[in-house]
Symmetry: C2
């Protein structure tokens, strides 16, 4: 079922008028919904509801819906995960944001890595982040999350070390090559529900020695992500999948 994030607070049984052009366009033009059609709305408090379309305005610029059910569901990771990704090339930022949102990330921070080929100045960052936020919002709707991740940009690794976290890791290619295979599983095995996990991923060229030293000074631990070399846009997805596996799945 289709889901939309709405920036108001809803209550059960109320009739709500929706004017957000993004939602109106999608309901009317893309989904071609008719009165009685159902969809989900997640309100500003991150509470999901079932909504029934009552009417589309004659000018097709607003919708009237009734909120018919409060939904109980747990689609958020039990721990908060921040990904700090060295700015990669081209459309890889979009892929990382879309996939990491599906996989449950709380925050995505791109940083200017010493080996990043791409540079973002303030203007470019503002434009790119607006687009990435929209991708995160749509991926959050598609994957039926109750919240979508914030996407931000900081200029270098030092700003990453200032982020709040209780468990701090960085994906280190050299660790993987040397057969390091304990750090990630040990860390995820010890997670508590209130933990804030932060993991740093280098851009295409990896994390520099200087950046590695800065991370170690700030108590970030190097981790391998299995024995194969993962691309910059693949590593965060491996990491998030492992967090989900460790924290959300159980065995009989």
């Amino acid at each position: 079922m289709q889901q939309y994030f709405i920036d108001t607070t809803l209550t059960l049984q109320q009739v709500e008028t929706i004017t957000d052009p993004r939602i109106v366009h999608h309901v009317v033009k893309v989904m071609r919904m008719r009165p009685e059609a159902q969809f989900e709305l997640v309100d500003a408090t991150h509470q999901p509801y079932l909504a029934v379309l009552q009417a589309v305005a004659a000018d097709q610029k607003q919708l009237q819906v009734q909120i018919t059910k409060r939904l109980q569901r747990q689609t958020e990771l039990p721990v908060s995960v921040t990904l700090a990704c060295g700015l990669p090339k081209r459309e890889k930022t979009e892929w990382i944001v879309q996939k990491a949102t599906e996989m449950g990330a709380s925050k995505i921070v791109f940083f200017g890595g010493e080996r990043s080929v791409v540079r973002w100045d303030t203007n470019k960052a503002a434009k790119k982040l607006a687009r990435l936020q929209l991708i995160a919002q749509e991926a959050g709707e598609q994957s039926h999350r109750n919240v979508w991740p914030t996407v931000t940009f900081v200029s270098n690794i030092t700003a990453v070390t200032a982020l709040s976290a209780s468990v701090k890791l960085f994906a280190y290619e050299e660790s993987g090559k040397q057969g390091e295979n304990r750090v990630l599983k040990t860390a995820l095995n010890q997670l508590n529900a209130e933990d804030e996990l932060l993991c740093v991923f280098g851009p295409e060229g990896g994390i520099s020695e200087n950046e590695t030293a800065i991370l170690r000074t700030h108590d970030f631990q190097a981790t391998g992500l299995g024995p194969r070399i993962l691309r910059t846009e693949t590593a965060p997805l491996y990491f998030l999948s492992c967090v989900s596996y460790a924290a959300e799945l159980i065995y009989s």
Copy 2:
């Protein structure tokens, strides 16, 4: 370090002449390597070696290299994993092949799903598979694997049920929605080194009821992949990451 797959069998200390235009072009034009440059060659027996460039022919159509070291490394998953993916739209086949190769898949089988929008006839499949095999080969080199996955196409789900496997699963969106969170971890927790794991993923519209029935008849078990709805190209990556986490990582 750069790696290439070569279709001959190498021995330590031998001098090998390389004429494969793909490798020659990459060494000479892309990497601009000079004599004494080192790279890795994985031979037809899947054994990796270190090679040193000795000379580039004047016509730049062949290389002479010396094989200087037999490399010991384990970059293959300890279990064999076959992904059977309902044929998705556009470039998603390429993404699945590239990422699944990085993450260690043994075989990737695309099947014509009842809800697949795209159709491949014999001619189209042959063309597409040639390109996908090349993507798999390059991703295998990039991720430093000893073998790259085979990529094939079968016309429907019934052909998928004929594939050999000791553990047979299918990713089922309804299972995820209903909070199913035991099947995957239980299956991966019981894996043995000789197991052949096969997991089926639907195309964008999911697996049909008819296909689900066929899979169940052939002892495929439905599994959730965590509580969020994953896109068709994201689900196989979640699955492979979990296999790696369960089979390759350990905790202290």
